[in-house]
Each structure stands twice: as structure tokens, then as C-alpha cells.
Amino acid sequence: MGTPVITQKQGAVAGLPAQAGRQPVPRGPRGALGRLRSQAQTPPGRLRLAGGVLAALVLLFGTVAAWQVADRAVVASQVVSHSQPLSQDAAEIYRSLADADTTAAGGFLLAGAEPPEIRKRYQDDLATAARLLAQAAARTGSSPEAQRSVAELNQQLPRYAGLVETARANDRQGLPLGGAYLRYASKLMQQTMLPNAQKLVDAEAEQLDRDQETASAYPLVALLLGLLALGALARYQVVLFRRTNRVFNVGLVGASAAVLVAVVWLAAGSAAAGSALADSRQTGSRPLAELNRVRISALQAHAAENLNLVDRGSSDTYSKAWKTLADPLNGPSRQPGSVAWASEVAPSGANAAMTEAGKQFAAWQKRHQAAADQQASGDYDAALRATLSATGGDTSDAAFKAMDEQFGKAAAVEQGRFEAAASGVGGSLELLAVGAAVLAVGAAIGVVRGVGRRLAEYR
């Protein structure tokens, strides 16, 4: 816990504590002991030595505090500027791809009656996926796995689009070859592209978790050093008081005050940052991740629903897929992965949207069942009409879209909550890092001055 992740930016700083560590004890223990003995023969020598150690300890505290906090500040800013947007983009890439496939199948099912909205929706999906993939490729800082997934998806997307267009061209000629191309394209999407997109989602989610943990880790080492420095200062002043009968030494009192302020600020600032990040996680990124998960499952179930109609009862692949995906969605509110669970963990601001989405979800499930019953009884056309139509109406497709729209609203609320809670953390931590460094330097000067005053009395 709390081991700072040394990224390249901190590489330069990483050497500091070692140097600082060398400053107070620039010699081997034996030499140091020897000198200590010889110095300790004289009171001023002892005084000087102890003062040096004290100043070094205070500086060490400042260095470690600044280093640990700066590290967390960088990561905390990264969470807002990089990891969370990347993980949200990955989910969005997945959704666009899955939706493109579902929409293409829907257009196929509507045959010659494919309305322009469906065509447009498909094109928007592809445009969104392409744009986000280009951004993801241009962004640095994602893991090698994520980069690989992005590169592969970038190659596969134009291929998929070409296959779908070939399917459309053949459809227009009235040839069943179009349907075969669509199946081929869909297979590419379902078996290669979506698993790739899933890898990307997982990699980015892991990165976000790691960064949030790093940013909210307590700077324990710095705090312990701070307390140690405070204790040493107190002890030194007590010893001085016994020796000299002078109660106050301005330099040392100032140093103590500075270190105390730094320690309190460090403790309080880290706790505040930790709780702000915890809040951003609790009401923002975590419910958002749960919601993304539910949305993706729902989308895949919807794709299975369409592809099952394309299949016309030739296999039970898609009805099984529907069951596998829809069952968890229908689970109770304590079961992660269910719609009820996504509502449960949603922040209060998203409740209205989630409640409405829940209603639409129930309607979708009911309509799907009705359509499935019609298909089982052999009335394919009725099943098709109940599933989707060019004009909308009471189809299961319409219910799904209404539900997804509400999910989108809830997602926007959760995204906003995350940003509001997390965006200030990086800045306040940076200030804390600078503050700790400045206070420690001030305290070290105070120690040197204070000890100097006493040394002068020996002249």
C-alpha cells in the first residue's frame, strides 16, 4: 500500500530521497561513530552534530512528502484526464460496434423497407467507433494490451464496413448473397471484433482501478518521517532547555511549528483527496462501469434477438445467447450485472432516469417473450412485426431504444458526478506537495538558525 508508482515523469525525482538520505550520514557507521565519539567530547560539537542530523531529518521529511504527494497528484490528474475518459471511451467503442451490428441486422430484417433512420444510426455508430479508435490510438499511457486491441480494431473496422456494404449492394440486386455477406460480417464482429473491444474495456478498467488506488493511497512514509522529525525536534528542545535553561528558541520553535503544519496538512489533505476520490468512485466511475456492463449485455441480447430472426429457426444459437444475456439482466438488485443492481448503485441524481429505464426494460422483456412465442408457434411474420418495424410502435426494438436512451441520461449524470468529485483532487495535491516542500525547507532553516544561536553562545 502506498508504494508510489514511479512513472517516467518522476524518474528524475526518484533519485532525490537517496541523495537526501546520503546527506545526513555521508560516511560509514564506523567512521561516523568514531567522529561522533571525538565530537561528543565537546558540547558545541555535540550540539552541531545533533543540529545537522535534525536539519537533515526535516529535509528528508519534506523531500519524501513532496515526492509521495506529487506522485499522487500526477496520478489523480491522470484519472480525470486519461484513465477514466479512456475507460469510458472503450465502453463507448464496444457499444458503437455492437450497435452497428445490431442495426445492420435490423436493416436486413426490414428488407426493402429499411428506413433512413436505421441507415443513419448504423453510419453514426461506425463514425463514433472510428473517431474513438483514432483518439485511443493517438493517446499515450494505455497499456500494451489496450494498444494492441486498438490497433487490431482499427484494421478490422474498415473490413467490416466493406462487408456490410457488399451485403447491401447484393440485397439491392435482390440476391440472397447479401444475407450471406451479412452473416459473414456479423461473424467477424461477434467472434473477433467484440472480443477485442472487450479486452480494451477490461484493460482500461483495470488501469482506472489501479490509478484510483494509487491516487488515494495514504502517504504513510512521509507521515511517519514527519512525526519522527517532530519527536526529534521536541526532544532536542527539551535537552537544550535542560542544558541552557532557556525555554524558547525561536528558530527551533518556528521549525517545529512548520513541521507540525506540514504534517497536519499532509494528513488532512491526503484524507480529503482520498475521500474525494472515493466519492468520485462511489457515485461516478463505479456506477458508470456497472451501467456500461448492463448496457453492453442488453445490446448483445438485442443483437441476438435480431440475429435469431435473421436465422429463422435454423439453429438455437441465438435463442440460447439471448437467455445467457437476458437472465442476469433480470436478476435481483443485489446481483451485480442486473438492471436492478445498476439502479441500486446509481447516484441519486440518476434515479429518475434509471427508474424509467427499468420500466422500459420490463416492457422490452415482455415484448420479446411475446415475439418468441409467436416464432415458436410458427408465425414468423408476426414475430418479426413484434420485434421491429420501420415505423417504431410497440415493438421490442422500440422498448430497447427507449431504455438505452434513459441509460444514456443516467450515464451522463454519473460521468458528471465523477468529474465534479475528482477534478479538484490533482490540483489540491500539487499545492500540498509544494507546501510540504516549502515548509520543510523553512523548518530546516529554522533548525540551522536556532542551533547557530546556541553555538554562538559557546564562542
Binding site: 428488407a111 435454423s314 410458427g378
Partner: protein, 313 residues
């Protein structure tokens, strides 16, 4: 499409046609009638999977009769004939992309049967089946019958019942126009060939790959055309009627003229449903006699397959 091997095929066909003619005229079938079918002809007829044992007569089926038995009663109670069909075989059983309806030569036949059994050609439930699941679907009772360019083979006859033949067929290779192969063997040796999973051509390739470097199987012969267009395979081995329907969708494809494994298409049914088999045989005979067959042929197939002479069993 003239066939180069028409002479040998023709000789066999003549015998078979004589046998079949007897059956269609309602004079009973040639079951085990070794007298009308010289053993020599059987020997000559396509070696291998299609002619696995000498006692198999591809054209044989139950005598045509319209007797209401258990199966016919069940279908009438249900009020719909459940037929396993294809939605990917252009002009045979295919989904018209403009209307979304499944149509074709096979579908016409299925409707003719529904009209005869239920009095309404529209009382059919069409279940699209992949090639590999046809026999399982019949045996499991998922469908009453399969009308899906199904080749009659001796091996299949052990598992299901076939109606009398409704179309004469053989197997052929389709290759991309860029292919330089002249003969059947040349088009296969060292090439990647595609066939529908568990189709008679797939089984034949499994028996003797003729030097093919790779055998790709798909749900459906049409998926093979996609793979050929995308350059993933070099040839498709399928029914000559289906090869013609591939050609109709992509003019740059070419058929290797040689045909192999002459056989028939038949309607597949469960062996237990003897009343249905006899009924369907009667419908097929009527459909051929009253010009239904010819009208459907002219509508769906004439433009790509030419004169019907070689195809009427």
C-alpha cells in the same frame, strides 16, 4: 448447359426414368425389382457414397396414395405444415431481400403439398435449416418434411424416407473466373475447396478429397460463394443446380463442365410417417402431371438452367 458426361449418365437415367415412370404412374414402385434394373447399371452408377450398396434404389419410395394416417391427422390438427427449407439457395429456397419472403422452386413444391394436405398453400411454417441439420431435424420431429435441394443418397435412405424424385441432379464445381482449371481433377488438386457441412459433396470429399489441399465447410453452399469472392477458397463443390444459382448471382464465376455423382432431389421425411410419404408421392406425381412442375421451372430456373429436359426425373 450441355453435360459432357451426358452419355453415360443418360444411359443410366434412361433405366432409372423407366423405373420411375412406373412409380409415378401409380403402378407401384420398383422396390427390390431387380428385374427392371440390371445390376450392371447399379455397378456403373456413381461409385462411392451415393451408391453405397447394390440394394439401394435411389428412386424407390412408397406407392403414392392419399390415405389419412396418424401424421396427416396431426398436421391437420396443427393447421400448418412445418417444412424445413433453405433461405440461401437462389431460385430454390431463398429470402427475397426486397420482400423478406422466402420463395423459390422448392417453396412452390412445399406449398403444393400444403394445399393438398390442408387445402391452403399458405398454411406452411417455413423453418430455415442449415445443410448439416436436415436429417436431425427430420428424425427429431422438428419439421414434418425437408424440401431443400436434398440429394437422395443410399446412406441417407437408411436414416430417413425420401419421396419419389422431383428433380434430376448431379454434383459440380464452381470456380472463380480467374481459375485456369480445365477439368474436375485439375480444379481440385492442391486447391482449397468449399462445401456445405454434411452435404453429399462434403461427404464425397471426405471419402476422396482428390488431392484438395484444404476442405472448408460452411453452413450453406452460399457461404462458399462469399469465401470464393473473398479469395479464401478456390472452388465450391455443390449440387449442379445450386452451382447454377451461384453463377446467377455472380457472373464472374464459372462452372467446370464435368458433373459427377448423378442422383435426384427428393423430399426428406421421417421413416415412421408412411402415410405422409405416400401422400407426398401422390402430390409430386400430380404436380408433375398438371404442369405445376413446369410452371415453377419456367418461373425460377429456366433463365439460368435452360431447357428442363435433363432435369425432369
Amino acid at each position: 448447359m450441355r453435360r459432357t458426361r451426358m452419355r453415360t449418365v443418360g444411359a443410366r437415367a434412361l433405366v432409372a426414368a423407366a423405373v420411375l415412370g412406373a412409380g409415378v404412374l401409380g403402378a407401384g414402385t420398383s422396390q427390390g425389382a431387380g428385374g427392371t434394373r440390371p445390376a450392371a447399371v447399379v455397378e456403373q452408377a456413381a461409385e462411392g457414397a451415393l451408391q453405397a450398396d447394390d440394394n439401394c434404389d435411389l428412386a424407390a419410395s412408397l406407392p403414392p396414395a392419399k390415405n389419412v394416417g396418424a401424421k396427416i391427422r396431426k398436421i391437420r390438427e396443427r393447421g400448418s405444415l412445418v417444412v424445413g427449407v433453405d433461405q440461401n439457395s437462389f431460385n430454390w429456397g431463398f429470402r427475397d431481400p426486397q420482400s423478406g419472403r422466402i420463395e423459390g422452386f422448392d417453396i412452390d413444391l412445399a406449398r403444393a403439398i400444403a394445399k393438398s394436405v390442408l387445402g391452403d398453400p399458405n398454411k406452411v411454417t417455413l423453418k430455415a435449416l442449415p445443410t448439416a441439420r436436415r436429417i436431425d431435424a427430420i428424425k427429431a420431429g422438428e419439421v414434418d418434411m425437408v424440401v431443400r435441394t436434398m440429394t437422395i443418397t443410399c446412406d441417407r435412405k437408411k436414416e430417413i424416407s425420401f419421396s419419389v424424385p422431383y428433380f434430376r441432379t448431379s454434383q459440380q464445381l464452381a470456380v472463380p473466373g480467374s481459375s485456369t482449371a480445365k477439368s474436375f481433377t485439375e480444379a481440385l488438386r492442391g486447391k482449397r475447396v468449399c462445401a456445405a457441412e454434411n452435404s453429399s459433396t462434403h461427404l464425397e470429399l471426405k471419402r476422396d478429397s482428390r488431392g484438395a489441399s484444404e476442405i472448408r465447410t460452411t453452413d450453406n453452399q452460399l457461404d462458399c460463394l462469399v469465401l470464393m469472392q473473398l479469395g479464401e477458397v478456390d472452388a465450391t463443390f455443390t449440387d449442379s443446380a445450386l452451382a447454377a444459382s451461384q453463377l446467377a448471382q455472380d457472373r464472374t464465376m464459372r462452372l467446370i463442365p464435368e458433373t459427377v455423382l448423378p442422383s435426384y432431389m427428393g423430399i426428406g421425411m421421417n421413416q415412421a410417417d408412411t402415410d405422409l410419404v405416400a401422400w407426398v408421392n401422390q402430390v409430386v406425381a400430380e404436380w408433375r402431371a398438371d404442369g405445376g412442375w413446369r410452371a415453377s421451372y419456367d418461373h425460377w430456373l429456366a433463365s439460368t438452367m435452360g431447357s428442363p429436359d435433363g432435369y425432369l426425373p
